[in-house]
């Protein structure tokens, strides 16, 4: 436990200090935190032994809610946009979850993928509303009533995102050691016994799915604000796959894992795009293979000296 706290604290200190020394990194780090939030949602589902290949749905949905609201006169305030867009994604997760939690394993994963791809198609085809493949521009909103220049806006958005990521990570860590979090693990381990405890595994998974959707939605809302533009690509299966990639790369053993994974993902993507622009997907693939074969508990597990994927916090 002490080692986990030290790892988390060091990561946090690095994230606080780095943008002060290298202001150019704020957007990249904010994007990493947003993807880390979505991967944190994936981590929750992994605890139940389920993988979603469609969390781009929630990520994109909240991003488009931000885009539409920011374009309208009543919604040009970060403190309004982020909670509303996140709640909207939560609502979508609540609706989709009613159906999805009836399924397990490959069916769970593929149904998530199918629904996100339906949304992707709608974003692309409804050109007059969504802007089609070109997407929508997101006008820079005010922050606590202040109109900020781009650099200041990005700087403050990074620290707000960091604070939200810390709160989300601590809340998820707490949830995972609560009876509800342990019941979630029980779905993976033995659903029959869970039912014979009088516990509805569907209800347990539904709560987790909702939380997971909210986290992806939070990430999507912020990414729309910092990138200033949304496209259907946010809902595309590749994006959803990246969240799973990040969760596995970082390790599902602790809540710091997805953020470590997201940072590493951004570093690999950044350098690979420069030094291997034609083959950077192959670099990511090789990286994933290395992790699966040699460090199945991910980067977080590697740091904590854990060998197996199941060694959880």
């Amino acid at each position: 436990m002490t080692r986990q706290i030290i790892v988390g604290a060091l990561l946090l200190i690095a994230l606080i200090v780095f943008p002060l020394l290298s202001p150019w990194s704020t957007v990249i780090l904010t994007v990493a935190l947003c993807e880390g939030l979505a991967a944190l949602g994936i981590l929750i589902l992994l605890r139940a032994g389920q993988v979603s290949f469609g969390h781009g749905l929630f990520f994109a949905f909240s991003a488009y809610v931000v885009a539409f609201m920011a374009a309208a006169k009543f919604g040009r305030e970060v403190l309004l946009l982020v909670p509303i867009a996140t709640a909207a994604s939560g609502l979508v997760a609540a609706l989709v979850g009613l159906f999805i939690v009836r399924y397990r394993a490959i069916f769970f994963g593929m149904l998530n993928l199918a629904i996100s791809m339906v949304f992707f198609s709608l974003l692309e085809k409804l050109f007059s509303i969504t802007g089609g493949a070109d997407g929508k521009r997101v006008p820079r909103p005010t922050l606590a009533g202040m109109t900020l220049e781009r650099e200041s806006f990005e700087f403050w958005m990074f620290y707000i995102t960091l604070a939200l990521a810390v709160i989300a990570a601590l809340a998820v860590a707490r949830y995972l050691v609560s009876p509800g979090g342990k019941a979630l693990e029980a779905i993976k381990s033995n659903e029959t016994r869970l039912e014979y405890l009088g516990v509805s595994s569907r209800k347990v998974l539904y709560g987790a799915y909702l939380t997971s959707g909210l986290l992806a939605g939070l990430g999507g809302a912020i990414i729309a604000l910092v990138s200033g533009h949304v496209t259907p690509e946010l809902a595309y299966w590749v994006r959803s796959g990246e969240f799973v990639f990040i969760a596995i790369l970082g390790g599902a053993g602790g809540v710091a894992g997805p953020f470590l994974g997201a940072l590493m993902f951004q570093i690999i993507r950044g350098y690979a795009a420069v030094y291997a622009p034609e083959t950077w997907h192959a670099v990511l693939g090789v990286m994933l293979l290395v992790i699966i074969f040699f460090a199945p508990a991910g980067l977080y597990g590697l740091i904590l000296g854990r060998k197996r994927a199941g060694d959880a916090t």
Binding site: V177, S178, P179, E195, Y196, L197, G198
Partner: protein, 249 residues
Amino acid sequence: MSEVILEARDLQLRFGGVQAAAGASLTVRADERIAIIGPNGAGKTTFINLCTGYIKPESGSVVFAGRDITALSPRAITRLGIGRSFQIPQLFIENTVMENLLLALSAREGSWSPFLRLDRHPKIDEMWALLDIVGLKQTGHRIVRELPEGMRKLIDIAVALALEPKLIFMDEPTSGVSSHEKFQVMDTLTRALDARATTAIFVEHDMDVVARYASRVAVWSGGRIALEGTPDEILNHPEVLETVIGVGV
């Protein structure tokens, strides 16, 4: 005579060409300890599955405390007060023994607060007491996957007991438990059942256990309860001696 707590009436079930239940009926009164005996593979576990909602019968009914539970889910049946342990223990094997029991206690108490750490559950003393009943207090912090089958079976029973059921089904509770520990475990288990006024139905192959702990014995044969009686009557019945115990007369 105490009240009827469970009544299985004329249960019928066929698996392909096999008649797993052929008019199985059993009436259970509160506080009874009923042992179900019969040859291996005869369908005793199927009878438990039918009574606890794991399998639905093609016809017939199961009434528990005056309520028809035939069509109810295992979850609903558990909530009404029927617990069970399994022939192959059904536990959360990647979790500790403590976590398995505390999860059962959370389920009973409905305590799902996200602010509550499972390992600091207010019912932790009860958890240790339950482990004491099955003589496994020392295993509390162990991961279930690492424990031998016999220990897992006892933990499975403790998990079922944690729900404080009115009626408990136990499928071969002492199989895998060493012969010198068998009676010790059954003694404490029986005391725990008495203290909780829990009715018990158990499938058992060890006739010494049956003779010592059952108040009534039911013989499962041909997909139904073929014979019923006191342990003395049944264990000395010529047909039982030949077909179940394997002693020719």
